[in-house]
């Protein structure tokens, strides 16, 4: 099948659907997604969305907290823009129907979140992502947005240095389709499945980010991987920061409230990088529980509050750990949660590749710098998803109708034929398990040059093996084995970018903590690392950090 649209959005999560709705105002738009929209992981976001909507709060305070949280690596003009847009975003979603929790006066309720000086996370119990996403999904149904669901994007079609559309595999039939477009918006979300311990879903393999990278777009801030302090031991599903925002506290094996020692002022609502390192330190120094975890205590909040404002958490604890969090301690440990880095964009979502735009977790503006504050990612998706959609539509209006390069389809046809033909070779599942082990063991909360170099060597070997792996299923219909093989290729390319940038940055900043370089070094490293794809591996470049009015200083909480 050959289809043509002016703008095509890849990914149907919060950023993707917002981009599609915005682009649809001025252009013919369609969405391509490997999942049906409501299966996207935006629905799993729990705690909230930040906006300075209280009279006692200010845009400047929101911007300052975000920049300080980023350890001064965020681009300050982009942060200011996002924080200024935040109240508009929240009111727009409320007007469209989002069911926010309310104060007794009937206003949108807000709670405390990590690293913030004011309780500015607007929330819908502990299902804020689902509440926001359902509203956007409903709007997209109303607007009749065309979605090609369960289509796996294989590549971008590029000709004369500009994007012309994409090639996709239809999972339901096994057919290849071409989607010609004047502009493409990548919004495929996170990449957490490259880690063994992650709060991310099976689908978070960074597909769009990897495809853009291979097509020539620059990645940015790839060394900064966020580890969420509180994932449930066992399945590593997320226990929202909102649990601590509501008053929950962390305890080590001795029952000590250890965060008092690491962040005397904010304690259990310090930023995520600081709390994750504190937990790892407690465990490494023998004050963790056997098996490597600590406890989250939300018992004092009482059953009524837990059942209303933390209802998903209540359910998770019972379903996955068999415990009642109103009476028992919750076993938690850090797990990969979010990727600060991604496809490098400007404030309008434009990338280094003409016609390619990006938004959401798979993109990097950068508003999070080296550490994202909780409740800023839903905001980022809605703020920059909209901007990227608008910019893509404007670009499409200027661009002419170009022919789709036939070679792009042929290349993918040959690639799939080659892997389907291969009868011998180890299964890609083995390579995936090893990748996830390497990333969790060597590219985690604390890093060293030695570990990172070992990881780089290991990844090069895994890439080599990937070239000769085989499938178990060569069928056409709903071939999940083939999809997983393609996803693994994306994970491997991005893992190499993460490790190359982490090895290069010889300092500790935000989520990137080098034991061999424990200090932040603004003299040498107050800059972004950009990453360009080459067949020999990632090629690194640098870009300045844009500073407006917040001078970098020591970060204490």
């Amino acid at each position: 099948m050959e289809v043509r649209h002016q703008v095509v959005v890849v990914g149907a999560g919060l950023a993707g659907l917002r981009a599609a709705l915005a682009a649809g105002q001025a252009a013919d738009v369609a969405v391509v997604s490997k999942l049906y929209p409501v299966r996207s992981h935006s629905v799993a976001a729990q705690g909230g969305i930040n906006a300075a909507i209280d009279e006692r709060d200010s845009l400047e305070s929101h911007a300052y907290d975000t920049i300080k949280g980023s350890d001064y690596l965020a681009d300050q003009d982009a942060v200011e823009l996002m924080c200024e847009d935040a109240p508009r975003v929240v009111y727009e979603m409320e007007h469209w129907g989002t069911l926010f929790s309310r104060t007794p006066e009937g206003r949108i309720a807000q709670r405390s979140f990590g690293g913030q000086e004011f309780p500015r996370a607007c929330y819908a119990a502990d299902k804020t992502g689902r509440a926001l996403f359902q509203t956007l999904f409903e709007r997209s149904l109303k607007a009749g947005v065309r979605v090609y669901d369960e289509w796996v994007v294989l590549s971008l079609a590029v000709a004369d240095g500009a994007v012309r559309g994409l090639v996709a595999l239809d999972l339901k039939t096994g057919e290849l389709h071409t989607v010609a477009a004047r502009a493409v918006v990548m919004a495929t979300g996170g990449l957490g499945l490259m880690y063994q311990r992650t709060t991310n879903p099976y689908s978070a393999t960074g597909d769009g980010t990897a495809i853009a990278y291979r097509a020539g777009a620059r990645l940015k801030d790839m060394e900064f991987v966020q580890f969420h302090p509180t994932s449930l031991v066992g399945t590593n599903v997320l226990i929202t920061e909102g649990a601590r925002g509501e008053g929950g506290i962390l305890l080590n094996a001795r029952g000590e409230r250890f965060m008092e020692r690491y962040a005397p002022r904010l304690k259990d609502v310090a930023p995520r990088d600081i709390i994750s390192r504190a937990i790892e330190t407690e465990i490494n120094e023998g004050r963790g529980l056997p098996g490597g975890y600590v406890h989250l205590d939300i018992r004092p909040l009482g059953l009524d509050l837990i059942r209303h404002r933390l209802s998903e958490i209540y359910d998770f604890c019972r379903t996955f750990a068999g415990i009642d969090p109103s009476r028992e301690l919750i076993p938690v440990q850090p797990a990969q949660h979010y990727m600060m880095g991604g496809i490098s964009t400007d404030n309008e979502g434009a990338t280094s590749l003409p016609g390619l735009f990006a938004a959401g977790e798979g993109a990097c503006v950068s508003v999070h710098g080296s550490n994202r504050l909780g409740a800023n990612s839903l905001l980022e998706c809605l703020c920059f998803g909209r901007r990227a959609g608008q910019a893509a539509a404007a670009f499409a209006a200027r661009a002419g109708e170009e022919a789709f390069p036939a070679a792009a389809l042929e290349e993918q046809r040959e690639r799939l034929a080659a892997i389907r033909k291969r009868r011998q070779g180890e299964h890609h599942g083995v390579v995936r398990r090893e990748l996830r082990g390497v990333m969790t063991d060597k590219v985690g909360t604390f890093r060293t040059g030695e570990d990172l170099a070992a990881a780089a060597a290991e990844l090069a070997r895994l890439q080599e093996r990937y070239r000769s792996v085989a499938l178990m299923d060569t069928g056409a219909v709903f071939n999940a084995d083939l999809a997983a093989y393609l996803e693994l290729g994306n994970s491997l390319d991005l893992a190499q970018a993460v490790v190359a940038c982490a090895l290069e940055r010889q300092e500790s900043r935000g989520a990137h903590a080098r034991r061999d370089f424990p200090q932040r070094d603004d003299q040498r490293w107050l800059k972004h690392l950009l990453c360009r794809y080459s067949l020999r591996g990632p090629v690194l470049e640098e870009a300045p950090v844009r500073i407006t009015r917040f001078t970098p200083k020591e970060r204490t909480y």
Partner: protein, 244 residues
């Protein structure tokens, strides 16, 4: 228990003339969910097995299937609990065309959802600059919040006896969605939804068997929500009659 059996429905329309059941051996570790077992199985034993999965925490609704004959989410079902007699039988959701193995075509489900206009239809008054104030008694807000928890997994459709007999019936999930807006004080779209709801294949097809409520993994009382819609419409009919 050392090992248990997974007995899985297999059908690939491009290769198989008819469906069959295939047996797999699984080592049940404590805490192992049916979904984790399936993921391991696909990676280690049989890559050709098709099922949908994403969030693995009961929020995305991808992995609804029949587990020992009942519609459930694989990620929220413990293997140890499901393997009573040592065998877990997995089949695709009832009432939907099978695409392959445990994957069904949900198109019909989505079409029915759109028929109830599942979006907020505000009244004619202009929206305020800030949020609309919303003061609801706690219990009413809870009911609304609960009704908005639907994850579109379609367990309720697979369990609903009326769905099975009347293909045109809108079904529990679409009606719960309609209720979610009808009960929202910000919504004024009743007249626009009435055509779909006040119809033999709308709310009146529900015969209160409560299987949807039992099946819902998010503990939404779907049957109750449908009753609320029936009540509202019945009250309107009585009012109209009284006026005549």
């Amino acid at each position: 228990m050392d090992e248990i059996s997974f007995r899985i429905f297999r059908f690939d329309p491009s290769r198989d003339a008819e469906a069959r059941y295939q047996l797999y051996r699984i080592r049940p570790e404590p805490g192992l969910t049916v979904l984790s077992a399936l993921v391991n199985l696909r990676e280690e034993q049989d890559g050709s097995l098709a099922f949908r999965a994403s969030c693995r925490s009961g929020i995305c609704g991808s992995d609804a299937m029949l587990i020992n004959g009942r519609a459930r989410l694989a990620c929220k079902t413990q293997v140890a609990e499901a393997a009573g007699d040592g065998t877990v039988t997995l089949e695709p959701l009832r009432g939907f065309p099978v695409l392959k193995d445990l994957v069904v075509d949900q198109s019909d489900f989505w079409e029915k959802l759109v028929r109830v206009k599942p979006w907020l239809i505000p009244g004619p008054e202009p929206a305020p600059e800030r949020e609309r104030l919303m003061r609801l008694p706690a219990q009413q807000f809870d009911e609304l919040s609960r009704a908005s928890d639907c994850i579109f997994c379609a367990c309720c459709y697979a369990e609903c006896p009326m769905e099975g007999r009347h293909r045109a019936y809108l079904g529990p999930a679409a009606l719960v969605k309609a209720y979610r807006f009808e009960a929202d004080p910000r919504d004024a779209g009743s007249a626009e939804r009435r055509g779909a709801l006040d119809h033999p294949d709308g709310v009146w097809r529900c015969h209160h068997v409560f299987r949807c409520t039992e099946a819902c993994p998010k503990e939404i009382d779907a049957a109750w929500a449908i009753q609320q819609l029936q009540r509202r419409l019945a009250a309107r009919h009585l009012r109209l009659k009284g006026d005549a």
